[in-house]
């Protein structure tokens, strides 16, 4: 176990280093003038020259890379000239909005997807299974930015029950005092229920938009995973000794089948970041993803570079945490006994981390 942890952490560190090299190559050594890219199209030649000096672009590539890493380690991501603010402080300011959106979307997506997938696996071939199967394909095929627009069209424009799709609160609502940065939690702490209601109303559509592809993906993964476990001996044993179907599903099959689902759920949270870029743009959400799209529109690329790097690093860290958690969950289930062969077989498959783990679900997450 200890060796496994050390090896995983080592591999992650290597990947993080490679990510920094890759982003350096893309952003600094690519054709074109990186200083012009960061300075913006309107900057004077003198300003570009000063930024070129600041970015050490006249130095050798090795020195440039060392300077690049030094900047990253010190959280120095440059300046967003179109907002006259340093990228670091912008990110700190914008992060809670994205985190709140992503948190609720992942809870809704994971719970909904796992539940639907498990119920469908318990009744293979039935109407419920087929309808949810088709719904999952539609959910996976839906472009999230388009889904957001359609939801705005229906719930705001036609039915009039959703608030104006701009920001996290209505203009007339006073924001609760800043504690966590999560408006729902802050307004609860302040006992301000009208602000809470307003925050939830603004969260509803973006959260649903972001959660649907995750739920669709996880419903397919869970269904395949639980169906596979249903074939195993310990399920037959459980049924033979008279365990009820519901208990077989939720206590035995889902529990063993949950391991690969957990890994894929964590990885789909990594993909949530790219979903957030699009959903925040549609709903004018003042988060990090929205910042990326605004900056692209303003040809201001320093914030975009920082966000690309943060997305990649978040993915690496989530990946590591899941792998380590997986070892913990795996060991606990093995201690319980009973399902050892299944667990061992599935864990081997997962440790090899072949994305083909569950056959039909690879590749398609969301765009």
């Amino acid at each position: 176990m200890k060796r496994y942890v050390v090896r995983r952490i080592g591999a992650t560190l290597i990947v993080i280093w490679l990510v920094s090299v890759g982003s350096f190559l893309l952003f600094r050594l690519a054709p074109g003038d990186p200083a012009r890219l960061v300075a913006g199209p309107l900057a004077s030649p003198a300003a570009v020259a000063s930024i070129r000096h600041q970015m050490q672009l006249n130095e050798s590539p090795i020195n440039q890379y060392l300077g690049y890493v030094d900047d990253l380690v010190h959280g120095n991501f440059g300046t967003a000239w179109h907002l006259h603010q340093s990228v670091g402080s912008l990110l700190v300011q914008r992060l809670p909005a994205t985190a709140e959106l992503a948190l609720y979307a992942s809870i809704l997506g994971i719970l909904g997807g796992v539940l639907i997938g498990a119920l469908a696996a318990a009744r293979p071939g039935t109407l419920f299974d087929r309808i949810t199967g088709y719904a999952a394909i539609v959910g996976l095929g839906t472009p999230v930015f388009w889904l957001g627009l359609v939801l705005i069209l229906i719930f705001y424009s036609h039915l009039g029950i959703a608030p104006v799709p701009i920001g996290r609160l209505s203009l007339t609502t006073t924001p609760p005092p800043h504690v966590t940065g999560f408006l729902t939690i802050d307004s609860l702490l302040a006992g301000d229920f009208s602000a809470l209601g307003d925050a939830l109303a603004h969260l509803a559509l973006p959260v649903i938009t972001l959660a649907i592809p995750i739920a669709a993906y996880l419903a397919r993964v869970t269904r395949a995973s639980v169906l596979e476990v249903y074939d195993s001996d310990f399920i037959r044993t459980a049924r033979a000794k008279g365990v009820g179907e519901r208990r077989v599903l939720f206590r035995h099959a889902l529990r063993a089948g949950f391991l690969p689902v957990m890994t894929l759920a964590a990885l789909s949270i990594g993909d949530l970041l790219s979903g957030a870029v699009l959903v925040e743009a549609v709903f004018n959400w003042p988060g990090v993803g929205g910042l990326a799209v605004e900056s692209i529109a303003a040809h201001d690329f320093a914030p975009v570079e920082a966000i690309v790097l943060i997305a990649a690093l978040t993915y690496c860290i989530l990946n590591l945490v899941t792998d380590l958690l997986y070892g913990v969950v795996d060991a606990r289930i093995r201690l319980d006994g009973g399902s050892s062969t299944v667990v061992r077989r599935m864990s081997r498959r997962q440790f090899s981390r072949s994305p083909s783990g569950t056959g039909d679900v690879d590749g398609v997450v969301q765009a």
Binding site: G22, G141, L153, A224, V308, A311, Y315, D360
Partner: protein
């Protein structure tokens, strides 16, 4: 668990013709619909009376009608012509990226799996690094580096798909390596190239095909997403993502069709390829 092709190569002996003769409805229906869609995307822009970029300022923002079944946009351009021109572009980029990515991924995965050792370790860390960049994020980064245009999304979806193929193929090669025929080949003195061409590629190609059919949809969605945020195909070229971005300006003023119809085109195409991927996976004895 599915019986993977790698562990039972006997199962892959039936030819494509035999498989077609068996007649799998699950494969024929989505496959036929996909071909139909593909043909429509190729033919409609050629025969349709309106051009995709023909501007008619007199006929701006017309609602769907007999003459313009999908309406017209803010420049009076016919949306049917733009829709199918966009479909052609999406399919072209989607299909070429999965074919190129599939071949590269298959070679990388096979060689890494066959070699093992330090080369395998290096390749795996490289693949992990690629996985850390989701296709959309990679597309943004590439568009910053080489400038927006059709190339940035095409490179991004191709590169982002490589680790998925390579990992899948590598794990199949690792299980192939444990089989007796593999040692027999070595004893007979066949080199690595022969083993690759005659044993590894034929055994893993089914997995690559299944992976590719599922990856087409992801690629198409990513290309559209990059077009939507303005880093993909540039105007006036008709592309679904940028059409949705243009159309959203008119979403709440009554001209909903401009943004809604291209999205339905995307949804149909991607759902169809996923369905086709499921059917292929079932046909080729992969678990569904």
């Amino acid at each position: 668990m599915s019986i993977s092709v790698a562990t039972m190569p006997e199962l892959i002996t039936p030819s494509w013709r035999e498989r077609a003769r068996r007649g799998d409805r699950r494969l024929i229906v989505p496959g036929g619909l996909f071909l139909f869609y593909l043909l429509a995307a190729l033919i409609v822009p050629l025969v349709w009376p309106w051009g995709a970029n023909a501007i008619h300022l007199g006929g701006r923002l017309q609602a769907p009608s007999f003459a313009h079944p999908f309406g017209t946009d803010e420049f009076g351009r016919d949306m049917v012509a733009r829709f199918f021109t966009g479909a052609r572009l999406s399919m072209l980029v989607g299909l070429s990226s999965v074919s190129i990515g599939g071949v590269i991924g298959m070679v990388i995965g096979s060689v890494a799996g066959l070699s093992g050792g330090i080369l395998d370790a290096i390749v795996m860390r490289g693949l992990d690094t690629l996985l850390a960049f989701p296709a959309l994020i990679l597309g943004i980064a590439i568009a910053l580096a080489i400038g927006p245009g059709v190339l940035a999304p095409a490179i991004a979806v191709t590169v982002a798909s490589i680790p998925w193929y390579a990992r899948r193929v590598r794990s199949e090669v690792l299980s192939l390596k444990t089989r007796t025929f593999f040692d027999a080949e070595k004893l007979m003195g066949w080199g690595r190239t022969h083993v690759l061409w005659h044993h590894v590629f034929p055994a893993v190609i089914d997995g690559v095909v299944v992976q590719a059919s599922l990856a087409v949809g992801y690629a198409v969605l990513t290309v559209a997403a990059l077009g939507y945020i303005g880093l993909g195909v540039q105007p006036p070229t008709a592309e679904w993502g940028s059409m949705i971005a243009d159309g959203q300006t008119y979403l709440l003023t009554g001209q909903w069709w401009l943004a809604v119809i291209p999205g339905i085109g995307l949804l149909l195409l991607v759902a169809l390829t996923i369905r086709l991927g499921d059917a292929l996976a079932g046909r080729l004895a992969y678990s569904v």
